[in-house]
Amino acid sequence: MEKTMTHKGVPFERLKIASFDFTCCEGCQLQLANCESSLPDFLGLLDVRNFREISSERYDDYDIALIEGSISRQDEVERLLKIRKQAKILVAYGTCACFGGVNSLKNRHPVEELIDEVYPGMAIETLPVRKISDLVEVDLFIPGCPVDKREVERIVVSLVKGSLVTLPKYPVCVECKAQLTTCLFELGEICLGPVTRAGCNAVCTSGKTPCLGCRGPAEEINMAAFLALVKERGLSLDDLHEKLAFYNAFEPFLNHEA
């Protein structure tokens, strides 16, 4: 395949991209193959150098590395460090990579319990789940469980065009209101929408299920006011905790509680 394409008469380099998955469900990588109608255009922007899930060709000369999943084994740490060395832009791709994701729920249990329960008697290696930025420097975060393909497309286009990559700074409520959904708090539930970064188009709340905060905290959230809200409405603090802990995205705010 030819390497340079032209746009507006100006040659541009396709992004030499690689995608790697670690401890995760691979749902985020799967999104890369979604939005089928624009998929050919999208792939036209990329020079896929390494993407095991869809291609047998593997090269190590990528510039951009998408890292999906969290880290929970020593061999993963080493793989990640190696990727960091090569990648000019390392992207934490998806909630698992950005925050640890649901996998982090495992950290609440001692390792022995985990192994005894699932692999009794087997020598299984496992480390507490860590997010990517705990181990290496991350250049770009694309949160979401799974990531929103339209957002990924927008970000890739920005990278190609050299424009600024941004995520919404405001919370999910903005998008929720634009869909005319009924606020989950009005339905008597705790929703993390008011403290979670928008960009998912309020997909959960518009399906009438509470936001669990997969995209992590919005900018400068008012956690104290949010806790006051939950208490004031007489909602269950256990429920709140389960939600805040679900994706591990609100870890820095959890001790706020006391």
């Binding site: 401890t23 193959a33 869809i54 291609s55 593997r58 993963e76 994701g101 495992k106 997909v203 669990l212």
Partner: protein, 424 residues
């Protein structure tokens, strides 16, 4: 011809998850043929402990990004049975529709993105966009349709949002159902053209007799719940899943193994076909005939064809489900429930085969014990045995290591293994 070779594939490509293939031949003798799953375990069964029932489907769906709907629905079914909740009919129909969408999407991904490059001889689908644009376009259209069916019925295609304990949190929008029906009709030709492409292919000639396990409800092609049956004549209740699986571990694999009447058994499209062929839509049966697929088929490569046949069935089935949903008043979509203690199993036919979730709850509706048995786990043993048989057959046919490697990769891919799912 080389009589000594070692094939070592680290992290097999174009499959979901991480696994290696090792084949060693010494002096023309097969020494080793191993399929080793090296995926990192996530310990979902332990994570689930203490989680409230309400949240469980959101957690279990994260076991797998490709068949998240199946996982959500398996745990929902287990919990609803454990807590004795009967969801309204509209919700059941919508769930069935969501399953059709997911299977269609997953099959399309496998057929066009993962398998087609093998048949055409490329390393990925990307060069096919230039060389076989019509095929890729058809694949994208079918995949998009699958995603759209899931989105309309479950709120999102990967990691559903509206599938909840008791029914649905939100009914599908009738306007969108109508559009969806039109979309299905419009995309049938794409599937037909894909069928004619696949009918032109010659499947590798390989067969090894084994046992096929699937759900069966006697009245329709299986999807959610039913009895557990096998081609060896086993027929059990859903809750008796442990007797079907007999899980065991092997030290080289983080994915477990199962067995039933023989050393190994198979779940998946081919198993469903072999067990429930008569319940397929006539059109799908016709397609099977054209593609040379007849029950009971023991060629693992034909799993791909069984998937294609199922796609034909799904398009018809989805249309029927949409029609029945359009006739319903979608007001009653969720049965209110009070949490209670109980235990039960939920089995569904995920795209890659029968998926069991078994859940035990306490009086407050929190999970106290969970167990999930994944289709790929059930196929592990069979992949293993097939790999050995295939490697031996290749030796007899005097194939060289390159050819053998390609053939083995392709055989494993035919199972459409979903490894991160199997190591959960």
């Amino acid at each position: 011809m080389k009589r000594d070779y070692a094939i070592a594939i680290r992290h097999l490509s174009r499959v979901e998850g991480h696994a290696d293939i090792h084949i060693t031949v010494k002096d023309g003798e097969l020494v080793e043929a191993r399929w080793a799953v090296v995926e990192t375990p996530r310990f979902f069964e332990v994570m689930l402990k203490g989680i409230s029932a309400e949240r469980v489907p959101f957690l279990t769906s994260r076991i797998c990004g490709i068949c998240s709907i199946s996982h959500a629905l398996a745990s929902i079914r287990a919990l609803e049975r454990a807590m004795e909740i009967t969801p309204p009919l509209a919700a059941e129909q919508t769930r069935l529709l969501a399953m059709q969408g997911e299977t269609l999407q997953s099959h399309a991904l496998h057929l066009f993105f993962l398998m087609a490059p093998d048949f055409i001889g490329t390393s990925s689908v990307i060069p096919l966009m230039q060389s076989h644009p019509d095929l890729v376009r058809a694949g994208l259209q079918i995949k998009e349709l699958g995603n759209e069916i899931s989105s309309v019925s479950a709120g999102r295609c990967t990691h559903p949002v509206t599938l909840v304990i008791g029914g649905l949190s939100k009914a599908p929008d009738k306007q969108r159902l109508l559009q969806l029906r039109t979309m299905i009709q419009e995309r049938k030709p794409a599937l037909e053209s894909a069928c004619s492409f696949f009918s032109s292919l010659v499947m590798p000639d390989f067969s090894r007799e084994t046992e096929f396990i699937s759900l069966c409800n006697g009245s329709s092609y299986p999807s959610i719940g039913g009895r557990l049956i096998s081609t060896d004549g086993v027929n059990r209740d859903e809750n008796d899943y442990l007797l079907m699986t007999n899980e065991y571990t092997r030290e080289f694999s983080t994915s477990k193994f199962t067995r039933l009447s023989r050393d190994s058994s198979v779940a998946g499209a081919l198993a469903r076909f072999n067990n429930n062929h008569a319940l397929l839509h006539p059109k799908a049966r016709e397609t099977a005939e054209q593609l040379g697929l007849r029950p009971i088929c023991h060629n693992p490569f034909m799993n791909t064809i069984a998937q294609l046949v199922e796609c034909v069935h799904i398009l018809e089935e989805a249309e029927n489900l949409i029609n029945s949903l359009l006739d319903m008043d979608l007001q009653e979509i969720k049965t209110p429930y009070a949490p209670k203690a109980g235990a039960a199993t939920g089995a569904v036919e995920a795209p890659r085969g029968i998926l069991y979730h078994s859940m035990e709850t306490d009086a407050a509706g929190h999970v106290v014990k969970a167990d999930c048995v994944i289709p790929t786990t059930q196929n592990n043993g069979n992949i293993h045995s097939d790999l050995r048989a295939l490697a031996r057959q290749a030796l007899e046919e005097e194939k060289d290591d390159r050819e053998t490697e390609k053939l083995c990769e392709m055989m494993v891919r035919s199972y459409d293994p979903c490894i991160s799912c199997s190591v959960h």
